[in-house]
């Protein structure tokens, strides 16, 4: 994965993993790779990989089970929750940038409908 090196890498990996949960690529209750494996997969520093899981745990998306590894939380709703959260986040950022260009919310709505066709 190509990283933007001026933004913390761990956040970018967190987003990538959340995206996979949101799109169903990673399922609820699924076992996630170990810290070392994650580091190898993404070609990042093992400390960064450890931090990724710390953050995901804080956000309630995964949990560490002693001796077994790290798993996505066993929640039916987890995919929906993460999807919604990410959608809101994307929308917020989009709106911010559009408003900075001078658009009103109605105008933005129209553009989206047009583009959505």
């Amino acid at each position: 994965m190509n990283f933007d090196t001026s933004i913390p890498i761990y956040l970018q990996v967190v987003n990538d993993l959340k995206g996979k949960v949101a799109s169903g690529q990673i399922l609820s209750g699924e076992k996630l790779p170990s810290g070392r494996e994650l580091a190898q997969q993404y070609q990042i520093n093992p400390n960064t990989a450890a931090r990724v899981y710390q953050v995901l745990e804080q956000q309630g998306i995964c949990e560490t089970r002693r001796g077994l590894g790290t798993f996505v939380v066993e929640q039916e709703e987890i995919q929906k929750t993460v999807r919604e959260e990410m959608a809101k986040d994307l929308a917020r950022k989009f709106l911010e940038r559009m408003k900075a260009l001078g658009f009103t919310v109605e105008e933005i709505g129209k553009i989206l409908k047009e583009e959505g066709k």
Partner: protein
Amino acid sequence: MTLCTKEAEKGYGRKKALQGVTFDIEPGNIYALLGPNGSGKTTWMKMAAGLLHPSAGGVLWENHPVCWKDRAEIAFLPTEDYLYGWMSVNEVGKYYQDFFADFSMDRYQALLRQMELDGNQKVRTLSTGMRAKCKVAVTMARAAKVYLLDEPFNGIDLLARDSILQVILASSDPENAIVISSHLVEEIESAVNRAIFFRNGLMAADLDIEELRTREGKSLADKYRELMQ
């Protein structure tokens, strides 16, 4: 075990390659040692590897100044072309096996395969790039406590660099520390977690890179430019 550098100085006649640097190398980290040519990076590495005596201060390992015995735990990869030309790639491995208890011949052979090196070829017949790969393979086949890699990517093509970086990442564990001195700041950015900057024989910065990104929104390359202008 921490490799502590305290006020290390090294002078050659009137010139001072190191003017007093102080920092620690702690296990579980991969460090980038950055700075322009002549800033003292290689001098520090040789001092830390027990190849140079400091003019003042020094480097401590297990609470004593680094000495010849510590070479058994501290692995140093010089920039120079130091392998004996008359040896074959396999014989280089045997040499390391003879002198380093932490050397794994299995690991070496695996690395050779990964880097597509022929074990029977004599070093003098290898191209610069292949010799560079061989050096890296034989050094990383050791299970050292500290790895000091002086410009390990010199003369190596892109794919081989990726491959070496993979090996370095795979070698990192909470018990060891890896220090990479390189000019390829952008390439090693995601692999290293701490950076030490040298300038004119002095330390310009010692920082955690993710914190740099969080607090200042800068990449390692950006910070380098900022410090070295």
